[in-house]
Amino acid sequence: MESYFFLIPVSLFLGLVGLGAFVWSLNSGQYDDLEGAKERILLDDEDVD
């Protein structure tokens, strides 16, 4: 029983981290150009900013 008190918050926390990561990636524009992302794999001389 005690393990619940430990495991449930851990699982919720991990879920929240995932949600936070998604919202962050959405806000930082990573889903703005899915077409471009798949084509850019083929570029081998991408500039490093």
């Binding site: 959405l26 806000n27 084509e39 001389d45």
Partner: protein, 741 residues
């Protein structure tokens, strides 16, 4: 036009991006692969004042950040040197799409909540009891409550608006179901009840949001592509002030009486009167006339016409909001579109589905209550009826099919504005075409080349390179056997008249007969442009607007399907009849004004016809608006594209047939999906009324039915279309028409 003026235009359209930096956005429709990204980004990056160039391939745009101190970089020139056509995106056009990110965030939140509550629910279903169960219910409630508040508002707000207007939309039963179930479950949690439906509520919300998001993304993508195409009215205009100085000004700020300079290849921003200069103007997008018109000082030119051969100084005679275009918009707004009467299938279903479901839930409650089951049990049964019937499958059934249909159409080069248009397309029984730019290509075609001497054609070809008149551009592209490439002396263009070349053999003139020939009485006999040497006739050229190669097979297929075809054009009777004869179209109306076209459509619809209108010009727009369904090629004017339900990007009329086929197929799938959703209810509702639906049962039934409708919708893009997207990239074209069914 001097460079600094163009730079001014770029500056006007850019936005600040950090200290000393500005950002400009260009639409580059030609980009399609990794190679293009590399070419554009490295090409622009080499410019000294550019600090960053970033391509977005999904929207076909490139964002360029440049250093203000080093001046405006020649972005458009660089792009055209690389072989890419580009249009600058003015900041006024850019409206940030908040709906999309709201939907995605709501989707993420509900997905997170659904996953976590499901995890706790599985524990409850597999035997957690007493305090543990209560604890899990409490945690579930704590997750579900903020989720319903945050992600659920996507449904509550429209539902509330619908109820206020006295309508029932899909959102109403969703909202009632979500809120009632949540409150019931909360009560059960308080009273240590066995069952709580938190997982059902949140999963339902998650599934419905998937449908809603897909639907939105589909529309958004079509809108973006359409708005990036070239605009009919330029954003800014060169204004000449009293001292003779030039300045760029936004089109919206033009007042009557201002003097404007219209360069070659520019479109007229407002209605104008010519002050000085002679030119030919192309009215094909405005009135449908295929032959360019000669203009002289004093002539009035309507907004949207294209200046072809000579720069003009003109006086604005109307403000931007009073021009020909605006009159068209007024005509459009006054049109009661028959399409508004159409109710999408899903709304038709919901209109009786919602009352039936609510009645069933209420009866279940009443029956159990009077049988003495107690208010709590009766309410639980009623809520389980609501949750099991909540249109989860129904909410996905239609959007999924439409998303797949739109994807399929996009692969074939057709953009669909919204899903209801696809449903309406199934009901059409008449097809009406505009001629110029739709059935015929925008470019004229030389029809009597065989009768002309190759030597004469070679001379004309060399002269024609110096002009942008549509005839010249066709002639310059001609391939002539045995013609040596070389110059033909000094070629000058006489706007409104033709081309003149001073060579060793004498003075060649190519253009209007009354200008090229010495003998004026003779010139009346010639209709087309003539070639003369020292005023003596050498050859007459005959032009016709060439039919699209796909026009004839398309019309035959449409007729074979039993759809009557008509042509309604603003062009001259002669030109229209010729085309109608060649295409074997029985009914053709020529020289129609925009209002007459509109009237024609309205009359046809009053007779009970459902018309598909295909047109491209400003003059077609009111008619397209009135028609049951409308289509436009991507070369159409921008208000035409925004009036059209479908825009086809390829220069190929078989897109019309493709759309019809996809519409038919998706209608079949939508009906199958709805039938399945109803069948599912036929089983589930009695079970729920009998009080047999536990949260576990609800979870399985809802997910199961959603998976079935999604899988069914996916059939629309079979292995075949995957293949086509591969072929498209290789530039492979399908044979243009499929046989009629």
């Amino acid at each position: 036009m001097t460079l600094s003026l163009r730079d001014n235009e770029v500056l006007l359209a850019s936005e600040p991006a950090g200290p000393g930096l500005r950002k400009s956005i260009y639409s580059v429709p030609g980009m399609s692969c990794a190679g293009c990204i590399a070419k554009v980004e490295s090409g622009l990056g080499k410019l000294s004042s550019v600090t960053q160039a970033r391509v977005n391939l999904s929207t076909k745009r490139v964002a360029v950040t440049w250093d203000e101190a080093q001046g405006v970089p020649p972005i458009q020139n660089t792009l055209s040197d690389l072989g890419f056509e580009s249009h600058i995106q003015s900041q006024m056009v850019k409206v940030r799409d908040t709906t999309q990110s709201n939907l995605l965030r709501a989707l993420a939140v509900s997905g997170f909540a659904a996953g976590n509550i499901m995890m706790l629910s599985v524990a409850v279903w597999s035997g957690a009891s007493d305090t543990t169960r209560d604890l899990f219910h409490w945690i579930s409630a704590a997750i579900a409550f903020p989720t319903l508040l945050y992600a659920g508002r996507i449904f509550y707000i429209p539902a509330f608006q619908a109820i206020r207007k006295g309508r029932v939309s899909m959102d109403v039963p969703v909202t009632i179901g979500l809120l009632l179930t949540f409150m019931m479950s909360l009560y059960d949690t308080f009273t240590h009840g066995l069952h709580a439906y938190f997982d059902a509520v949140v999963t339902l919300l998650f599934f419905l949001l998937i449908g809603r998001t897909l639907d939105h993304l589909m529309r958004q993508r079509a809108r973006d592509v359409i708005s990036d195409l070239e605009r009919l009215v330029p954003d800014s205009v060169q204004v000449v002030d009293a001292t003779g100085g030039h300045a760029f000004m936004a089109t919206a700020d033009i007042l009557p009486g201002m003097t404007l300079q219209i360069a070659l290849g520019d479109r007229f921003p407002v209605n104008v009167r010519v002050v000085s200069g002679v030119s030919d103007v192309d009215l094909s997008l405005v009135s449908g006339e295929s032959v360019p018109k000669r203009t002289e000082p004093g002539d009035v030119i309507v907004a949207g016409a294209l200046n072809l051969t000579g720069p003009l100084v003109v006086e604005a005679i109307a403000a931007a909001n009073q021009s020909f275009l605006s009159q068209m918009i007024e005509l459009i707004e006054g049109t009661e579109a028959s399409r508004h009467a159409y109710k999408p299938i899903v709304d038709q279903v919901v209109a009786w589905y919602a009352p039936v479901v609510h009645l069933a839930a209420f009866s279940a409650f009443a029956v159990w209550y009077f049988l003495g089951a107690g208010i709590h049990h009766s309410l639980t049964v009623a809520v389980s009826v609501l949750i099991i019937t909540c249109p989860c499958a129904l909410g996905l059934a239609v959007p999924m099919v439409q998303v797949m249909a739109s994807k399929r159409l996009m692969q074939q080069g057709v953009l669909m504005r919204d899903g209801a248009a696809l449903e309406r397309l199934n009901q059409i029984d008449t097809v009406i075409f505009d001629k110029t730019g739709t059935l015929t290509s925008g470019m004229p075609e030389l029809v009597n080349a065989e009768q002309l001497l190759p030597a004469h054609l070679a001379i004309i070809k060399r002269m024609a390179r110096h002009s942008r008149h549509p005839y010249s551009r066709v002639l310059a592209d001609l391939s002539i056997v045995g013609s040596e490439s070389g110059s033909i002396g000094n070629v000058s263009e006489h706007p409104g008249s033709g081309l003149e070349a001073v060579s060793e053999d004498g003075i060649y003139r190519f253009g209007r007969a009354d200008w090229a020939l010495k003998d004026q009485t003779q010139s009346i006999a010639f209709q087309g442009p003539v070639l003369s040497r020292n005023g003596e006739w050498l050859a007459t050229l005959e032009f016709e607007h060439s039919l699209h190669s796909s026009a004839a097979p398309l019309i035959q297929t449409l007729k074979a399907r039993g759809l009557p075809v008509e042509i309604v054009s603003g062009d001259a009777t002669n030109a229209v009849n010729k085309i109608a004869e060649r295409l074997q179209v029985d009914s053709a109306c020529a020289a129609m004004l925009p209002a007459e076209k509109l009237k024609h459509i309205i009359e046809r619809e009053a007779d009970g016809s459902r018309v598909l209108m295909i047109g491209d010009g400003v003059n077609d727009v009111p008619a397209m608006q009135a028609a049951y369904v409308s289509m436009a090629p991507s070369s159409a004017v921008d208000i035409g594209r925004s009036a059209a339900d479908f825009v086809f990007l390829r220069d190929d009329l078989s897109s019309v047939l493709t759309s019809l086929q996809v519409a038919q197929k998706s209608r079949a799938l939508i009906i199958q999906n709805i039938a399945f959703a109803l069948l599912y209810n036929l089983v589930a509702v009695p079970a729920a009324c009998g009080g047999l639906v536990t949260p576990l049962f609800a979870a399985i039934a809802m997910s199961g039915s959603s998976i079935v409708v999604v899988a069914n919708a996916l059939r629309l893009s079979g292995a075949r279309s995957g293949n086509q997207s591969f072929r498209r990239k290789r530039g492979f074209r399908k044979p243009s028409l499929m046989p009629a069914e």
